[in-house]
Amino acid sequence: MDFQVFLLLGQDGVTNGAIYALLALALVLVFTVTRVIFIPQGEFIAFGALTLAALQAGKFPGTVWLLLAAGSAVAVLDGIVLLRERRFSRLPPLILANVGFPLACAALLWLVPMSNLPLWALASFSMLLVVPLGPMVYRIAFQPLASASTLVLLIVAVAVHLALIGLGLLMFGAEGWRTPAFTETNFEIAGAPLQGQTLLVILASAVLIVALYFFFERTIYGKAPDGDFGPHGRQAVLYPGCRDWCFFRHPGRAHYDHLLRFRFLDGPQGICRRHHWRSGLVSRCGIGRLAGRIARVLFLLLGERFQRGYCFHPHSSRPALAFSGFAAH
């Protein structure tokens, strides 16, 4: 392996590593807040990329139908709750957001020829189609089991993963697609080409990671995830000794008690020691430890790149590697 090959492979490894680091961060966030090990994460990557590819090819992306179906299910589930509680005024916004939005997207697709639009517009539109699926999947699959053990949530995550794989095959078929790079600019460093796209990927990941860090560590909103998780969400105001914490500006709304426990452990007093068994578990996945994890993922993927580049191994062991990067502490 000469220096040029080293640089090429290294570049590839760092790019993949940046993407994986972002994924690892997402997994950590989901786990600390919901205790769900979000195995279907991979499907969201695939759906995002394949939706973009379908839009570029001028095809109608199946994600729209999935969004409509999932949105309708959420509307039904939450609608029943609202009807039962006689909160009729909240029905229209619920239906508008969960059914109206997918329908509007479908209408837009029919009316506007997408393939002529610039890449950034298509990318944004595919994100509009895929991102709302996340909360919808949570509402349908996980929220009814919010108080179940981590194990049950894990099995549910695996089941959702299966269902989404099947749906992906149904919507996009088994063939691969190719989307163009955001930029064709190329640089040259020490004789090895450096693609502009690579820089973009690394930059985007870095910006997102830093932004998420500041959001969750430095803002009141981030520290008190202000989500209305319906009547079953558990109240967070459990520990009277923690009055000074900002969560209590939103009494009754901050339902993420597990995140709260994790935060409390960082606090000066051991008021939550009795919950040590659980918060310890969570804090091991804490955002504070993220740097180490990102380094580990990068290291593993770099290693894998070199190994693959060197002996051209026929079978990818990447899932297992990415997994071990995530699971290792």
Binding site: S149, L151, L162, L170, A320, F323
Partner: protein, 591 residues
């Protein structure tokens, strides 16, 4: 015929009759159901009963299949020898994997099973000697003496006989000393360890059994198909096995068959139906399965079999599990130290939780044939001290001696072996198990027969002895009428008494009782006091934490008062009642 054998007999009849009614295609399908049920059976034991979730069982199926495929095609070894080799290799590999991963707790273990499930799958696909992704073909048929098992119909009998034997073995196992230890895993390692159950070993045992049933299934699969490739041993298949067990009822032996039957049939139908419906071909049944699994976990977490059981109970109510206990003489007892001997000596024990001192330089001792009461306001650190003594939560400093031996570095299990037994403030009974079985866990250390003896029913004499002992202790505490009731159905006060019976079943010389009288009615308290007096007269030492002052003062020989983790006073009940410090602690000061 005993009534509890009825399902087995019915099952055998159905299995025997089925070939006369089923087409060749159905028989082939039924063979697969049998093979899957074998794996799901292992998962029922591992996940449903032992509480250890595994997504990786398909890898062990693959191991069993590949060993026989490779050895019989390349080296021409007899399949029967390959079975033994395959089982041996599976045992070895599962032991190594289990050694590394079983100590992980909660969700880390299932994640690890995903990891090794994936890596074994890639190993099958990447080893050239195993034929890579094309696999191995031309595997010879099974032969019993001169009978070659070639047709699906012939294989049918072999598969279902193996499955039936495996089911009987698992059932026998669950109904034994080793089985109770396994069932205790899910209810709390702390309790099991306190009665001498080696929980890491029990976990390993179920893990190995589940791996072995999977390997046997793989061996059968290889000789049924006469061809293997890596695909059927992927993670997806591993998930499907778990799915079958969950659908069927992860806590029931019969759930394995119900789940395998339903899932396999459904899959078959969906594979016929969906491509036509959706206009393209592919594995679209996984969409359905994924969604179905989520719904089952949301709405019927105990699976099909528990629904069937509930239905059966409605049709034929009052069929609780009762059977006469085999008569058996008393178990040998340990020799108790003479009255007045110091049993337990606690010297300056401290325990910290972070910055909080739960116990600070606590000292006390308990002699044989006396009741020592430990009292104090809520949060004074009494239960913490109990946990330090019984090594549930070891002390940070100080010295604890039991029968003149330092025990502060020993495990809960080793302390139990030395004759100390305890009850828990928050009752730790296995709610689904009968009172009898719960109490029999207490006698764990008085038997020694293991998993193999239990599976083959060679443990009957010992088992009779243990159950008879448990029944005797239940009678002693006055709960004989609840012998066969699920422990969870008793009132909380009575559950505390069951805990005492369980502690007594271990033949202790020192009893630690954590609030035994809480939740009892007046008459029951009197009966309990009577029982404790009787035990004291037998030279058993008793350390008692209790809030009910009448109960304590009428019973205790000596009293230690704790406040804020420290000893406030010690003395005879009379002295304590007049101690101004104690009065202040309890009543907030005497003006």
């Amino acid at each position: 015929m005993k009534r509890r054998h009825l399902p087995i007999v019915l099952f055998v009849l159905v299995v025997l009759a089925a070939p006369y009614f089923l087409s060749d295609f159905r028989i082939a399908l039924t063979n697969y159901i049998g093979l899957y049920a074998l794996v799901a059976l292992g998962l029922v034991l591992l996940t449903g009963i032992g509480g250890l979730t595994s997504f990786g069982q398909a890898a062990f199926v693959g191991l069993g299949a590949y060993v026989t495929a490779y050895l019989s095609t390349v080296h021409g070894v007899s399949p029967w020898i390959n079975l033994l080799v395959g089982l041996g290799l599976t045992l070895l590999l599962a032991y190594v994997i289990g050694f590394v991963t079983l100590r992980m707790s909660g969700h880390f273990l299932p994640l690890a099973t995903i990891a090794w499930g994936i890596s074994l799958y890639y190993l099958f696909g990447n080893l050239d000697m195993l034929g890579g992704n094309t696999g191995i073909s031309g595997i010879p048929a099974l032969k019993i003496i001169s009978w070659e098992i070639r047709s699906e119909r012939e294989f049918y009998y072999l598969i279902w006989v193996v499955l039936l034997l495996a089911m009987l073995a698992v059932r026998n196992l669950l109904d034994s000393r080793a089985g109770r230890a396994i069932r205790a895993l899910k209810g709390g390692v702390v309790m099991a360890e306190s009665f001498g159950v080696n929980t890491p070993r029990a976990k390993m045992a179920v893990f190995l059994i589940a791996a072995l049933t999977a390997a046997i299934s793989g061996w059968l699969y290889a000789h049924l198909q006469r061809f293997v490739n890596p695909t059927p041993f992927s993670l997806t298949q591993g998930i499907e096995f778990l799915f079958m067990a969950v659908v069927g009822g992860i806590g029931h032996v019969w759930g394995a068959i119900a789940g395998a039957l339903v899932v396999t049939e459904l899959k078959q139908r969906l594979q016929d139906l969906l491509p036509g419906l959706l206009g393209q071909s592919g594995n679209f049944e996984i969409i359905f399965f994924g969604i179905a699994m989520v719904l089952i976990l949301q709405w019927a977490r105990h699976g099909l079999w528990s629904l069937i059981l509930r239905l059966a109970r409605r049709i034929a109510p009052n069929r609780s599990w009762r059977r006469p206990l085999a008569p058996s003489g008393p178990l040998p007892r340990r020799s108790l130290p003479a009255s007045g001997t110091v049993l337990l000596e606690v010297k300056e024990v401290s325990k910290y939780f972070g910055g909080l001192a739960a116990n600070q330089k606590m000292s006390l001792n308990v002699k044989a044939g006396e009741v020592m009461a430990l009292i104090g306001p809520n949060g004074a650190g009494k239960s913490t001290l109990f946990n330090c003594i019984s090594a549930v939560n070891p002390a940070d400093g100080g010295e604890i001696k039991f029968l003149d031996e330092r025990i502060d570095a020993l495990s809960a299990r080793e302390i139990a072996r030395r004759g100390m037994s305890r009850t828990f403030q928050h009752v730790r009974l296995l709610q689904q198990m009968t009172v009898l079985e719960n109490v029999a866990i207490g006698a764990h250390l008085r038997g020694r027969r293991g998993v193999l003896a239990a599976a083959m029913r060679l443990n009957r004499t010992e088992e009779a002895g243990l159950l008879a002992e448990a029944a005797r202790q239940i009678e002693r505490v006055g709960l004989t009428e609840h012998l066969f009731d699920p422990a969870g159905s008793l009132a909380l006060g009575k559950q505390r008494i069951v805990e005492i019976a369980r502690a007594l079943a271990s033949d202790p010389c020192l009893l630690l009782l954590d609030e035994p009288a809480a939740g009892l009615r007046h008459m029951e308290k009197q009966a309990l006091a009577e029982l404790l007096r009787k035990l004291r007269a037998e030279d058993i030492g008793i350390l008692l934490v209790e809030h009910d002052m009448d109960f304590v003062m009428g019973l205790a020989d000596r009293v230690v008062v704790m406040e804020f983790g420290e000893k406030l006073a010690e003395g005879l009940p009379q002295e304590i009642q007049e101690n101004p410090l104690v009065l202040e602690a309890y009543l907030g000061g005497v003006e």
